[in-house]
């Protein structure tokens, strides 16, 4: 059988359109996931009422303990049964954000716990309030520890957007499937798809390196 990469080249405009949708979902979902991870991670690192603690850990465990695919199905196809209806794009962003937020909140929490107790005590001894200590002393140090796992989270999210093709969003993977069924050229099409995803995730790796480098200005 002969390989024909013209199929890929001819469909580049389509692929590009689909990539933009993938990126849009990934970036939006990541932004929300970061926000969730930050709030949940910080709250779970400190003494909060037991009921909140329970709720938050239930959220984290449930979203980490079930497949993302089921979560997406549930949000898009299941929730309308109880009157919660949204378009596929919104469902995709919400699903990815809740799932990513659960994982990333654990990274945030671990990074906060990695800052030594002495830092907090030094801040208190100088007269910082709890919130001031968290904001000025703990979080900036935790941030550096959190960068690699969070950027990893972004990378995972980029790849996981391919799952939202199942709720009929014409992002990169679904576009690839459509082009394949039209051309019957799986080798070329899926190789190209893989390449596109790789370019995106590798850019994230490079970006992460840049941020880490900037944070290397101080050591312990």
């Amino acid at each position: 059988m002969e390989l024909n990469f013209n199929i890929v080249i001819n469909n580049l405009p389509l692929f590009w359109q689909a990539t933009q949708i993938t990126l849009k979902i990934a970036v939006l979902a990541f932004a929300f996931a970061l926000l969730i991870a930050f709030i949940v991670g910080v709250l779970r690192s400190y003494n909060i009422p037991a009921i909140f603690k329970l709720l938050l850990s239930a959220y984290v465990e449930i979203f980490r303990g079930t497949p993302l695919l089921i979560q997406l199905f549930f949000i898009y196809y299941g929730l309308p049964s109880v009157g919660i209806i949204m378009d596929a794009f919104t469902a995709a962003v919400i699903g990815l954000a809740l799932n990513g937020g659960a994982y990333m909140s654990e990274s945030v929490r671990a990074s906060i716990l990695s800052v030594s107790k002495g830092q907090e005590e030094a801040a208190y001894s100088l007269g910082y309030s709890k919130l001031e200590a968290i904001w000025h002393i703990i979080l900036p140090q935790a941030f550096r520890v959190a960068i690699p796992p969070l950027m990893n989270g972004f990378s995972s999210m980029l790849k996981e957007t391919s799952l939202v093709s199942v709720i009929s969003i014409t992002e990169l993977t679904r576009t690839g499937n459509l082009i394949y069924s039209r051309t019957l050229k799986p080798f070329e099409v899926y190789l190209a798809l893989g390449l596109f995803y790789f370019i995106m995730t590798f850019s994230v790796v490079l970006l992460a390196k840049q941020i880490e480098l900037k944070e290397k200005r101080w050591t312990l």
């Binding site: 005590e121 100088l126 000025h136």
Partner: protein
Amino acid sequence: MDVINNLIEIKEIYKSFGDQPVLRGVSLTISAGEILGVIGASGSGKSTLIRCINGLEDIQSGEIIVKGQYMTNRRNSREARKTIGMVFQNFNLFPHFTVLENITNPCRVVKKMNSKNAEIMARTLLQKVKLEDKMYQYPGTLSGGEKQRVAIARALAMEPEIILFDEPTSALDPELAFEVFDTIKLLAEDGLAMVIVSHQIGFIKNLAHRIIFIDDGRISCLGTPEYILNNNNNARLQDFLIRLRENI
């Protein structure tokens, strides 16, 4: 009230970790400008005592009164901490701030100073501890002695009336310990009250007005350095001193 004349008054405090008693009825007063040395075996409760004084540890019973104010809750402790500075064994500088920022940040956040005044304050204090040439470096690049001098400058920036030192030199090589001792002497000359926990008897005895010997969670002996080191007939203290000298 007589209480006001004392900077810090500690009445019968009890502190335990779980079911392990650590402080078992400690009473003590510290007056303005006084330098108090604290000695005692490892695990006797020295660190716990000074951590209780500035509210880093809760006590089970007893009273701590700072400038006539009872420390009863977190809010009170925070007020009291403005009077009390603390210098830790392992420095606890903020590694993500430069030396200068280690001082300007608390000045801005806690004392609500503007950036300009905070920087003036920081520069003056860094001059005092002879580290103005390191102010743009990060703590990670400093020697232990330099780190501790920055920590002292940082504590001073809050304009405390007393500083608690928990073994300020025991993480340092002897030659670096001396530069920290010299800095502490400067503070003594300024009349700042201090509580100094240290195993460096030679240093304490020249500086302290009084020394307490803590044994098993109690103040077992209290007096002038002369009395503590030479004239007491406390067997546990004499044991402790002999072992200390042997180790040096």
